[in-house]
């Protein structure tokens, strides 16, 4: 058989393109079973998840777990969905991303599965509210988190301090600690620039208060309102006094390992952070670190009279949806239900692998005996929270959220006034509100359960 030069070139081109195109394919429903892409903090977590959450699933289809890098899983998923493929279960970074996926038609509405599996009564109402786009349930929270204060009890005892329960107690300790050469609040954003929003979340919810934040999220109050300006000015003042991270310059170069080490060694007093830190700090305390340091946590305190004594700033660290192109949506929903249900399974995940639990009611009886008592205390109190606050990365639309932490750094360096910061934030927020990009938020009062 002879082959013409033209045909040879065409075939060569096709041969060259084949692997390229093949690599773009695959995904939903291919290869049998359910495709699930996920990312993990460490190998122990990954191994636990594979054993207890993948292999243990005895549903109508086998789950095939593919582990992706933490920092690229969002983009890989986005690319695959845009190409009409992707995993059957779609993992996202939070409600703002879910809204974009839902608008693009990538996600299957879950109402019928919600009725079938009783998710309305199983999951916390605030979490279900945040999982709707245009009134349709399109995801379930893969795990939830809150803001807490972590401290080293020995450090407080050594200096004769008690865990602060209000602003004046907190400021008194910070003043004394700074005078003694300690870092009052271990903080920094060298490893993760958006970390600044953790502390803005703290200021907004615990100074302005959750009612004011909720009102602004609904568009009834402007972010330029004096109540928010007071909150930002207060937080900025803490930075200027060197309470946050030692100094403004240090704040920008403080890494998390250094901050955890400072907390363990007594060089730092408090750490205001997310509940995820209860697993991240473990290598720095006790036998794992070769020291006898211990840690504990406390709920965040009010920064203004009139703000409830305990406000639990809730956040959704990840969401799970069913791919609209899934060849087996019923099995995908069945697996979703497996991941979200059973309090004992959730509690075991916390105890054995520091996994964030689904927002379902947990009691002390759900936890295995081996569990760390501090985690039981955290998650049982959290699931009975009376007043909730709003983490910016969950309830703010994407562009407003990015401006919120990017420009807050300019406030603490003096490049931007609080007024200009909030005016700019409000302008972007109003445009996203008009475009219906603001994730739904539940009211702050009433039981979160």
């Amino acid at each position: 058989m002879t082959i013409s030069r033209r045909n040879f070139l065409v075939l060569s081109g096709a041969t060259a393109l084949t692997p390229v195109l093949a690599s773009c394919g695959g995904g939903s429903g291919s290869g049998g079973g359910l495709q699930y892409w996920s990312a993990f903090q460490n190998q122990q977590q990954q191994d636990y998840f594979k054993k207890e959450r993948v292999d243990a699933f005895q549903g109508s289809a086998k789950v095939r777990l593919t582990v992706k890098p933490t920092d690229t899983i969002d983009r890989l998923t986005q690319t695959a969905l845009a190409a009409g493929t992707g995993p059957d279960l779609v993992l996202t970074a939070g409600p703002a991303q879910v809204a974009a996926y839902a608008d693009a038609g990538y996600l299957l509405p879950l109402e019928k599965y919600s009725q079938k599996y009783g998710w309305d009564s199983m999951l916390a109402p605030w979490a279900l509210a945040a999982s709707r786009v245009d009134g349709k349930l399109v995801c379930l929270p893969g795990g939830y988190e809150t803001m807490i204060m972590i401290y080293n009890p020995a450090t407080l005892e050594q200096h004769g301090w008690k865990v602060p329960t209000n602003r004046s107690e907190f400021e008194a300790i910070c003043t004394e600690a700074k005078a003694k050469g300690l870092m009052p609040v271990a903080s920094g954003n060298a490893d993760w620039r958006p970390a600044s929003e953790w502390w803005v979340t703290f200021a907004l919810n615990h100074s302005a208060g959750p009612d004011a934040v909720y009102s602004a999220l609904q568009g009834r109050t402007r972010w330029s309102d004096p109540v928010f300006a007071d909150a930002i000015n207060l937080l900025n003042g803490y930075y200027q006094q060197g309470w946050w991270g030692g100094s403004v310059d240090s704040y920008f170069t403080n890494t998390f390992p250094n901050l955890y080490t400072a907390l363990a060694s007594g060089k730092a007093v408090f750490m205001i952070t997310g509940s995820w830190a209860t697993s991240e700090i473990l290598p720095y305390f006790g036998a794992a670190a070769g020291n006898d340091a211990t840690w504990d946590w406390a709920p965040l305190f009010p920064l203004r009279d009139g703000v409830p004594a305990e406000v639990w700033d809730l956040g959704i660290g990840a969401t799970l949806s069913v791919n609209a192109k899934s060849a087996n949506p019923d099995a995908a929903a069945e697996y979703l239900n497996f991941l979200e249900s059973d309090p004992k399974r959730q509690a075991q995940g916390i105890a054995e692998a520091s996994l964030q639990p689904a927002p379902i009611q947990l009691s002390a009886a759900d936890f295995p005996e081996s569990v760390d008592e501090r985690l039981v205390r955290l998650y049982t109190r959290l699931s009975n929270a009376a007043t909730i606050g709003y983490t910016t990365w969950t309830f703010w639309p994407q562009q407003t959220d990015t401006d919120l932490y990017t420009n807050f750094d300019k406030v603490i360096t003096g490049q931007l006034s609080t007024k200009d910061y909030l005016d700019g934030l409000d302008k972007v927020f109003q445009s996203e509100l008009a475009a219906k990009k603001v994730p739904p938020a539940p009211a702050p009062s009433g039981p979160a359960k």
């Binding site: 070139l9 969002d74 845009a82 974009a100 608008d103 693009a104 038609g105 310059d249 704040y251 990015t402």
Partner: protein
């Protein structure tokens, strides 16, 4: 050629044309895009973050046109004057260039640390200071970069006719005079080409900035590429990010066009 053209069309030309299209839309990177005409470009004109990033790119370009080019020329010329250990120095200069930028950046981040590194000794927070951060990142990038220029300039210098140096030496010209009157004019095409590439690469610079500072502190090291990345993947404004990319491409296009005109007039081979 056909396979190459096909691949190029798939992975370069197609996405490039799509980027032009998306720069005129409000695309969020997901789903459908809505045509909004010149809105992104109008917003860019009034965007303080864009102006800040562009200014940093200009400063970056000036730095890389002056410092590493001067170091590269000097290093290469010095190597032409020695006989022993020339290969050793070439390897030593070139080695940082082949180390992954992420590793180089991580090493320097630790070396400059205000807690345990040079920063502690000098009481300076190189990457946390608003004024020091950009020069520090440029310094680290240059540390890895200038050795490459040495090798390229050295190759060009070795092509210069040695008789010219002998004649100049007989006429009493010293090393500086020889460099100025023989070496530099002889390697002018290479010099201009590297200058062109320096400008283009400076406007594409991303890795060292992202690893060391992510554009911080408070935008002090933000460049167009980090702004583009943030708009596309954090703010989910892929349309706006495409407009930033178009400006970057336009700047590179103007530089290349200017170079091609000069090249044609001077009849350079490079």
């Amino acid at each position: 050629m056909l396979p190459l053209i096909a691949i190029n069309a798939l992975v370069v030309l197609g996405p490039s044309l799509l980027a032009v299209y998306y720069s005129f839309t409000d695309w969020n990177g997901i789903g459908t895009a809505k045509w909004i005409g010149l809105h992104n470009y109008i917003e860019l004109a009034g965007d303080a973050e864009f102006r800040n990033a562009l200014w940093h790119n200009i400063l970056w370009t000036i730095f890389f046109l002056v410092v590493p080019m001067a170091m590269g020329l000097f290093g290469a010329y010095a190597l032409t004057r020695i006989r022993r250990f020339r290969l050793l120095f070439r390897v030593a200069y070139f080695l940082p260039y082949i180390v992954a930028s992420v590793i180089t950046a991580a090493i320097w981040e630790n070396l400059l640390s205000p807690d345990v590194g040079i920063g502690e000794v000098l009481h300076l927070n190189f990457l946390g200071s608003q004024t020091l951060a950009l020069p520090t990142v440029a310094f680290v990038n240059n540390w890895a970069w200038w050795g490459f220029l040495v090798v390229v300039f050295l190759a060009a210098m070795q092509g210069v006719n040695p008789n010219l140096y002998e004649a100049a030496a007989l006429d009493g010209a010293g090393p500086f005079r020889q460099f100025w009157s023989i070496t530099l004019p002889s390697i002018q095409p290479t010099f201009m080409f590297l200058g062109l590439m320096t400008i283009i690469w400076s406007f594409l610079s991303f890795d060292y900035v992202y690893v060391l500072t992510q554009g911080g502190p408070a935008g002090a090291t933000d460049v167009l590429s980090t702004l583009l990345y943030r708009e596309a993947f954090a703010s989910l404004r892929a349309g706006y990010a495409s407009a930033v990319g178009m400006v970057m491409a336009l700047i590179s296009g103007v530089v290349v066009a200017a170079y091609l005109v000069i090249r044609k007039r001077k009849d350079w081979a490079v």
